[in-house]
C-alpha cells in the first residue's frame, strides 16, 4: 500500500468524494474493494463521505464471524477509517429500518440520514463512486 500512497496527483484541488456502499460485505467482492479505494483515496486529502445503504449496512454490523466461509473478516478496518481522516460516515435510515436494525448494531459511530437527506448529500458531491 505504501507505494500506492505515494501516488499523489491532486495538485492541491479538493473535491467532494462520496463512496456509496450498497452490497453485503461477503458474497461479492465489491465491499472489500470499495474499502480499498476509500483507504487509498484518503492519501489524496479530499473531502470524503462514505455512505452505507441497502445491504451495504451489513458491512458495518457488529459481531461478524466469517470463519465458516473461509474469508477474512475485514470489518475491523472500518474502525480504522478515523485514523485516515475519513470521519463522515452515513447510513440510510430506511435501510436500517427495513432490516430491523439501529445504529447501535453498527461497529462505528455513524450519522443516520433519511433517503431524502442522502439525496441532498449526493447532489452536493463532485465525484460519486457506487459499489
Amino acid at each position: 500500500m505504501s507505494e500506492e500512497m505515494m501516488e499523489e496527483g491532486g495538485g492541491g484541488v479538493i473535491k467532494k468524494f462520496c463512496y456509496i456502499n450498497r452490497k453485503a460485505p461477503y458474497g461479492t467482492i465489491y465491499a472489500l474493494e470499495s474499502l480499498e479505494v476509500v483507504l487509498i483515496g484518503a492519501a489524496f486529502e479530499q473531502d470524503v463521505s462514505v455512505v452505507f445503504a441497502d445491504d451495504g449496512i451489513y458491512q458495518l454490523t457488529k459481531g461478524q464471524d466469517t470463519a465458516g466461509i473461509e474469508m477474512k473478516n475485514f470489518s475491523p478496518t472500518y474502525r480504522a477509517l478515523e485514523m485516515y481522516d475519513v470521519e463522515k460516515l452515513y447510513v440510510e435510515k430506511e435501510s436500517l429500518e427495513e432490516r430491523g436494525m439501529t445504529a447501535d448494531d453498527l461497529i462505528v459511530p455513524v450519522e443516520v440520514l433519511s433517503s431524502a437527506q442522502l439525496q441532498d448529500l449526493m447532489e452536493d458531491q463532485d465525484v460519486v463512486l457506487s459499489f
Partner: protein, 130 residues
C-alpha cells in the same frame, strides 16, 4: 469535456465493458478528452491478451488496445484487483515468480490512486458497472 472512465465489470459476462468502449469512442468522436480509463473489480479482465472469443464475436480486449493506440489512451488496470484475478505484466510476473504474463498491449498496471486522481482531474468520472 475531460472524462475519466471506470469499468468495474468483466468483458462478455456484463455489458459494462461494451458500454464503456462505445461511450469512449463516441466521446472521442465528438472531440472530448478521455483522461484515463480505469479497470477495477472484474473489469481488470478487459486487459488480458489471452482472451480468445469466437471469430464472429467482437474482441473486447483487442478493441481496447486498438482504440488506445489510435487515441493514445491511458488504460490502467488496478494492481490489487489484477493480482487477485491473475492479470500480470512482465514486471509483476517476475516479482511474483509467475511463469508468464498476460497484460494486453496499450494497458498498464498501477494503483488505485490512479482512479482517485482521475476523479480529481476530470470534469466527469463516469462509471460502467452494476
Amino acid at each position: 469535456m475531460k472524462f475519466g472512465i471506470l469499468v468495474s465489470e468483466g468483458p462478455y459476462t456484463h455489458q459494462a465493458a461494451d458500454s464503456a468502449y462505445l461511450f469512449t469512442k463516441a466521446a472521442l468522436e465528438k472531440g472530448h478528452e478521455i483522461y484515463r480509463i480505469f479497470f477495477y473489480h472484474d473489469g481488470v479482465n478487459n486487459g488480458t491478451r489471452l482472451t480468445t472469443p469466437p471469430q464472429d464475436e467482437r474482441h473486447i480486449v483487442n478493441r481496447w488496445s486498438e482504440l488506445a493506440e489510435k487515441h493514445k489512451l491511458d488504460l490502467v488496470v488496478c494492481v490489487a484487483a489484477a493480482q487477485r484475478r491473475g492479470i500480470v505484466d512482465a514486471d509483476e510476473a517476475k516479482r511474483n515468480g509467475k511463469d508468464g504474463d498476460n497484460l494486453a498491449p496499450g494497458f498498464r498496471i498501477s494503483g488505485l490512486g490512479q482512479l482517485v486522481e482521475a476523479g480529481i482531474q476530470c470534469e466527469r468520472l463516469v462509471t460502467f458497472g452494476d
